[in-house]
């Protein structure tokens, strides 16, 4: 084994378990004595609970307990500051939004709990909720980012002066993560030790968050999430249902499982806020930017949540401009808690910016690819730092060639195929890579296996396989002998959270550090242990190579050594902590190209094909990276054409089921051509890998929208682009 698996096609190591149904997810555990819980949610949009009648529920067959604000199980509100849910359920009678948790019924079976929950009635004193972003005025500014050229007093002066000016306002309603696995928690207590099975993107943060909610020592909580049915941001915090489940299990002294119904997922575990954005451009006649302003008003729930800031990593990164202003505002509404959703700010923000760029291209007559090259940024427009490794220009050129961009009709609505109008659009993607500390444990076992352990999580991202590939590469061993471990808060502290496309880039260096440290441990044991054939040698005379120790003519496998010295395993921890004051800005980039057809009579919109070329540094596993890119692009197609959950005046989501909230299905998705450049990032780490998991989601919606414009001559600014808006 001398060929490194880095960058090759490695099949998912968790594949066999997943295709046979043997991978256990949170709701798949059946501890002895398990009982089932079902949540009760508020059915008014704002107000106060005056009373709840639980008598029929309590009398229903199999019911063990009913918890409400009037007969609560205690939870502690650990909210501090801003940027998270600011309440815990059942501790007061306030209804902050429709769909808030106001009760939990526990019964012997799922059916008994569900049906008893339906017998509960509630008496509310209600007031009308604030739900309409369209009706709300400008929100509160977060931080305003402004860069002005010398002598410019106000960006508005430049934006008015032109010579070419563009003002584009786009809107999108609430969107949902819709991970295939509904949030579920199975909680078991043994004495004062809690084990929670619950999908989590950051198990080592969710476990202490649950402990804090219960008021217990974080060391007493272990969270296990080896297999998690999708995250997309929606599993980054520990939500109230998990805390409530654990608290009720403690109160009852029995293992408890709470699985959200699909409808409950839509209001209790986060969504992407509705947002209205305006991009204003001033440019020369040749398309060179003179000013770029990007304002946003995003829904922000009174109950707290994650704030949407769509301009920071899009308009604040993508183009060179002498004048730039970003004003990201939040509008308080009585809506369910918001949370980061895959490319949280970047997906909506890039739709606004890249739609505006397409309008500028149309106005100036400059080809959209050429327009972007004319405004190419080689340094971060706000921070002034050079990008660590940027080859976006090659993404544009290679993508254009692969796609056949030269066949794009420059004039909208000028190419047809029978009854179909054909159009092409393109856009630019960028996503930052945060540099984070990471800790990994590498352990040699006497059975010839090596475990590589990280307290991170694999939501389908491919982290299981990345750990195996990284371990194999570091130790010069076949992928098959590496046993990855993740998805368990009890693993060594310091696992990288599965958020921000950060796991691979930040875990790779830690695997290398841990691998080297473990080899050092092995070599020390080899010379120090009297039963070792290398005993007494100078450590410098013993070397490790591809799983074997060598000294002169002596050579033995690490497993043989461990058996010889009677040690089942030897391990070491490796930790990395990159400096935060790098002179470089770390971003991944990409270019999307999309062809659509729109029916001349019905305005049905179909995506014909998609080509994307990415610049993400070193790719660790080609197979799972490709899937991440493709999945992200499919999210962009959904973003552009399907996904919407309008909210009604009473606070009810109009599309809070999987039948009503449309996500792409197989028949919506054409062939997708994905390619990456493969330049290692020389500055990020020795592995050269930046993040890629969310990048495909960025701006792919704009490529679709720009293609629809090219096909029809109609620019739709209010997402999703549905056929009624083209008729």
């Amino acid at each position: 084994m001398s060929v490194s698996p880095i960058g090759r096609e490695t099949a998912r190591v968790d594949g066999p378990l997943k295709v046979t149904g043997r991978a256990p997810y949170a709701a798949d555990y059946h501890p002895d004595g398990l009982v089932h819980g079902h949540l009760v949610l508020a059915t008014v949009g704002r107000g106060t609970l005056r009373a709840m009648d639980v008598t029929r529920a309590e009398a229903a067959p199999g019911v063990i307990a009913v918890y409400t604000p009037f007969q609560p199980v205690r939870l502690i509100n650990t909210f501090q500051g801003f940027g998270a849910e600011n309440y815990v359920p059942l501790q007061d009678t306030t209804v902050r939004f429709r769909g808030q948790i106001i009760g939990l019924v526990v019964a012997g079976t799922f059916e008994q709990a569900r049906d008893a929950a339906a017998l509960i009635t509630a008496d509310y004193a209600g007031t009308p909720p604030r739900t309409s972003l369209a009706d709300a005025g400008p929100g509160r500014s977060q931080d305003i980012v402004q860069v002005l050229a010398p002598g410019v007093a106000s960006i508005d002066d430049v934006l008015r002066a032109g010579p070419v000016t563009i003002t584009t306002t786009v809107t999108q309603p609430a969107q949902h993560h819709v991970a295939m696995e509904p949030h579920a928690t199975t909680a078991t207590w043994e004495d004062d030790q809690l084990t929670v099975y619950s999908g989590a993107q950051m198990p080592q943060r969710s476990a202490p968050a649950i402990a804090a909610g219960l008021g217990i020592d974080p060391a007493k909580v272990r969270l296990i999430c080896r297999y998690t049915g999708g995250g997309f941001g929606g599993r980054s915090p520990a939500w109230n249902e998990a805390k409530l489940c654990a608290a009720a299990a403690r109160a009852l002294g029995r293992p408890l499982k709470v699985v959200l119904s699909r409808e409950q997922v839509f209001t209790t575990v986060g969504h992407r806020p509705a947002v209205r954005q305006t991009v204003r451009l001033a440019a020369q006649a040749d398309g060179r930017l003179l000013a770029l302003a990007h304002d946003s008003d995003a829904e922000y729930p009174a109950a707290g949540g994650w704030p949407l800031i769509p301009a920071q990593h899009t308009s604040g990164v993508l183009y060179r401009t002498p004048n730039l202003r970003l004003d990201q505002r939040l509008v308080t509404l009585d809506t369910p808690s918001t949370w980061a959703m895959r490319a949280p700010g970047e997906a909506p923000g890039s739709f606004a910016l890249e739609t505006a760029l397409d309008e500028l291209a149309a106005r100036t007559g400059v080809d959209p690819v050429e327009l972007r090259l004319r405004n190419y940024a080689t340094q971060h427009p706000v921070e002034g730092r050079p990008f660590s490794s940027k080859h976006l220009d090659q993404c544009y050129r290679l993508g254009a060639t692969r796609f056949g961009w030269d066949r794009r009709p420059a004039r909208p609505r000028s190419r047809t195929d029978g009854d179909w109008l054909i159009g092409m659009g393109m856009s630019t993607a960028a996503y930052p890579t945060d540099r984070e500390a990471a800790t990994v444990r590498v352990r040699f076992h006497d059975n010839g296996r090596v475990s590589v352990a990280s307290g991170t999580s694999d939501l389908g991202t491919g982290a299981w396989t990345v750990l195996a590939v990284a371990g194999a590469d570091t130790l010069g061993l076949p992928v098959e002998v590496i046993v990855p471990e993740l998805g368990d808060s009890a693993l060594p502290p310091g696992g990288v959270g599965a958020v921000g496309s950060a796991v691979t880039a930040n875990t790779m260096p830690a695997v290398r550090a841990a691998g080297r440290a473990a080899i050092g441990t092995l070599l020390r044991a080899a010379v120090e242990n009297p039963r070792s054939p290398f005993h007494g040698l100078d450590p410098a005379d013993v070397s490790y190579r591809q799983g074997r120790l060598h000294s002169g003519r002596r050579s033995m496998g690490f497993d043989e050594l461990l058996r010889a010295i009677g040690t089942p395993a030897l391990d070491a921890i490796g930790a990395t902590d990159p400096a935060q004051d790098s002179p470089y800005a770390f971003h991944s980039f990409g270019a999307h190209f999309c062809e659509v057809r729109v029916h001349r009579l019905t305005a049905e919109i179909r995506v014909n094909r998609f080509t994307s070329v990415f610049d993400v540094g070193t790719v660790i596993n080609a197979r799972t990276a490709r899937s991440q890119f493709i999945g992200g692009i499919i999210w962009g197609i959904g973003h552009a054409l399907l996904e919407a959950d309008p909210i009604e005046p009473d606070g009810r989501y109009a599309a809070a089921t999987m039948a009503d909230y449309l996500v792409p299905v197989n028949a919506d998705i054409p062939d997708i051509d994905v390619h990456w450049l493969g330049y290692p990032d020389p500055h990020i780490s020795e592995s050269g890998a930046r993040g890629l998991g969310e990048l495909g989601t960025v701006a792919s919606a704009a490529a679709v929208g720009n293609a629809v414009y090219n096909a029809t001559g109609i620019r739709v600014h209010d997402l999703p682009i549905t056929l009624d808006k083209l008729l």
């Binding site: 008014v44 049915g229 119904s261 089921t657």
Partner: protein, 195 residues
């Protein structure tokens, strides 16, 4: 203003002209479509699950999905929506694909049920299972059992030959990770191997 409990939705809707600050007493689980029913009976049912005759006494409310998962601990079949909208719970009943969340167990006397756990022959993966691995036809894996069971029925049916036909036949199985191109490629590989 009502202070009483248990008022029906019909009565509530009958009161018109409520003002901005209203008190409302409404049933809670409307969106859950759960029947307001609290009695339980028991029904004997004998089905064959993955080749084993399985006699059971079930609550008539129990779906095949919940019986598989909670009684038989065959948790490979997943509950994605419980409403027949996502396909994650797809299994075979008498050789046909069904969404097990909309199939009441009590109706399955004498039926043959095959789940993802019954698809492989011992340790040897079914060609579709291997093809899903080869083409990375999944990411998180939660929809995968349903995708594979659905695909097995589509292949047995023999109608889907082109990529577009496969896409159409597989569009009842949602995959939020977006593994659709890999799923189509996997099904085509298995179809070609079988022919």
């Amino acid at each position: 203003m009502t202070e009483s409990y248990g008022i029906s939705r019909r009565e509530l809707l009958g009161r018109s002209g409520t003002v901005a600050a209203v008190a409302a007493t409404v049933p809670l689980a409307v969106a859950d479509t759960a029947p307001a029913r609290a009695t339980t009976g028991e029904v004997g049912v004998r089905m064959t699950v993955n080749g084993s005759v399985t006699p059971l006494t079930v609550d008539p409310r129990e779906t095949l999905l919940d019986v598989l998962r909670e009684r038989l601990h065959l948790t490979g079949t997943k509950k994605g929506c419980d409403r027949g909208q996502c396909g994650a719970c797809t299994v075979h009943v008498d050789g046909e694909r069904v969404v097990s969340c909309l199939t009441l167990a009590a109706t399955l006397g004498g039926s043959r049920v095959t789940t993802i756990e019954g698809l492989a022959r011992g340790d040897r993966l079914h060609p579709l299972q291997q093809a899903f691995i080869d083409h990375d036809g999944f990411q998180c894996g939660f929809c995968t059992s349903g995708q594979i069971m659905s695909a097995a029925a589509v292949l047995a049916d023999g109608r889907a030959r082109t990529d577009d036909e496969v896409r159409e036949q597989m569009s009842g199985n949602l995959c939020r990770c977006g593994a659709y191109p890999g799923i189509v490629a996997a099904i085509q590989q298995a179809r070609k191997e079988a022919s």
